[in-house]
């Protein structure tokens, strides 16, 4: 019997015994919607016996914004701002995933340079996403230091995004068919600085928590889920990998030339809060490796594909060239012909497989666009993960699952 099974049977035993022994001492506790530890708006109505959770009923949808309905009314290029607001901790991944979906639909091939630039941006975004999650696990366990320390570095990632596209959080980064401009020399300088400075700070943060006795006691065994149950619940991303399944879209269905890079998929064994934390820590290190590889081998070439009917021409050409003016008009008005068809494309987002199911009827906007939102799908396992645990463990479990309200509620 391995540790996980032992722990699980222990939990089951405690739940059963507590149900037998309590005589009307069960309290109902509302965790949320505005509880400070929920990092977003979710409600969990818990039945508790003292500190122990017996059951939980979830309510979600508090920031349902109808992305999928809006997407049916907007031209393709105007859907990017919606994807920004899905998982807003790593917006560029969502943006670029959407572009790749459309490029798949129209059959556009990207130059190698675009792929490598995209990889750099997406891995930076992954680091930013995991930094929020892991530093917030620290905050919920009572260690605010890591949060303030890491957020300084996170600001540097924001500065890099600003250098590329001008925005910090909701980036709207890039275009269908590449980037609006090449990486500036300033970006190169800042990225070099980041790659030099960040590992030091990150290792200090790692030392602060990874082998910290208090942190380990709080997180090991908290909110565990087995690989079989995780697969049953369609878990993806770091949460599935923490349970021991090495599923990563970047490896299994490579996009944007991910097959060119050398990196490993970290996996856990127990699927508990500590493993989720460690998997994310390791993924940050692997992302740094990927960025270094992509940055050092950035191929020569164009920063955009040659698809004038989808990629906005430069302004000088619009004013001086008839053809460019026509393309500009068509793109801005959403009059570009789009092939009829349906595609599914997925990228490895901050929380795992982020899918785009796009049906086009040839019109100016998608006939149907569905986002496969990893948060929404795996958050439903939360009651199962916290039953039998204490309330403080439930809080840590929630933050370690990295549930992002924007992505969850669509």
């Amino acid at each position: 019997m391995n540790t996980l099974e032992k722990q699980k049977s222990k939990i089951e035993a405690t739940v059963e015994s507590s149900i037998e022994t309590i005589d009307g001492d069960i309290a109902t506790l509302n965790l949320g919607p505005t509880h400070p530890s929920t990092h977003g708006i979710f409600q969990n109505v818990l039945k508790v016996d003292g500190e122990k959770i017996l059951s939980s009923v979830q309510t979600v949808g508090y920031i349902h914004r109808a992305f999928e309905k809006i997407a049916e009314r907007r031209p393709y290029s105007q859907i990017t701002p919606l994807t920004d607001r899905l998982n807003y901790c790593s917006s560029p991944i969502n943006n670029l995933g959407w572009y790749m979906t459309v490029e798949k639909l129209i059959g556009a091939e990207m130059p190698k340079r675009v792929d490598y630039m995209r990889v750099i941006i997406m891995e930076l975004a992954r680091i930013a996403d995991h930094l929020v999650c892991n530093s917030v696990i620290g905050v919920d366990a009572g260690a605010l230091t890591g949060f303030t320390y890491l957020f300084q570095q996170r600001e540097k990632i924001y500065e890099l995004f600003e250098e590329v596209c001008g925005a910090r959080l909701t980036t709207n980064l890039g275009r269908i068919g590449g980037f609006e401009r090449d990486f500036s020399p300033e970006f190169h300088r800042k990225l070099k600085d980041f790659l030099k400075d960040f590992p030091k700070v990150f290792n200090e943060f790692d030392k602060l928590l990874s082998r910290n006795r208090i942190f380990m006691d709080r997180t090991i065994g908290a909110g565990a889920i087995s690989a079989e149950r995780a697969l049953q619940y369609s878990f993806v991303g770091p949460n599935l990998r923490a349970a021991g399944v090495d599923y990563d879209v970047r490896v299994l269905n490579p996009y944007a030339s991910y097959e060119d890079f050398d990196f490993i998929i970290p996996v856990g064994t127990q699927g508990d809060t500590y493993d989720r934390f460690q998997v994310r820590q390791e993924e940050i290190r692997q992302s740094l490796r990927i960025i270094e590889q992509a940055f050092n081998n950035l191929p020569e070439g164009d920063y955009k594909a040659d698809i004038p009917e989808f990629f906005l021409p430069p302004k000088e050409e619009v004013y001086n060239n008839m053809e460019a003016l026509i393309y500009h008009f068509k793109i801005v008005m959403g009059e570009t012909p789009i092939p009829v068809g349906e595609v599914y494309h997925s990228v490895e987002g901050g929380n795992g497989e982020l899918g785009y199911y796009l049906i086009s009827d040839g019109g100016r906007s998608p006939y149907r666009l569905q986002f496969r939102r990893p948060c929404f799908i795996y958050y439903q396992a939360y009651p199962e993960m916290i039953t039998g645990q204490s309330i403080s463990d439930a809080v840590l479990t929630l933050s370690s699952m990295n549930v992002i309200a924007g992505e969850l509620d669509a």
């Binding site: 999928e68 049916e72 798949k104 639909l105 149950r229 369609s234 349906e342 199911y357 509620d409």
Partner: protein
Amino acid sequence: MQSKLSNTAVSDALKAKFGAAILTSDTPYDFLTIEVEPSAMHAVISWLKKEESLDISFLTNIGGVHYPEQTDREFAIVYHLQSMSNNFRMRLKAYVSLENPEIDSIVDIYAGANWMERETFDFYGILFKGHPNLIRILNEDSMDYHPMRKEYHLEDATREDKDDRFFGR
């Protein structure tokens, strides 16, 4: 990484097993898409999971699509499935009518289908028979329509301060 299964192999296996319940088979953008008789959907998904040579045992996504002009086939329910061990993805579709938008729930096969089906019910009003708790999930309980159906407006109807002429309504 290359897939270990081919589209035709899976499509042929399904046709051999289920015969007339498999209505059409297509591969748009090299993605196997199979239309299944709604009543057979539960059995097909269950078989795909159990069949060891295929091992299509991961539910990626469930979604609905509304086609108002297709009489008796107004709603499509789309299932995306994948096999991690064989690195294979496929799509199953079933069409149901507006009068009787019913299909068997697959919560007993995949626990993760619970909320996906609730969302599809919330958006389109498709009824999943056998679902343990088929209530709205994202919208308010008091909502009296299914907003993703094509006939309903996107915009907030109570809004007065926006001039329609400037917002292209």
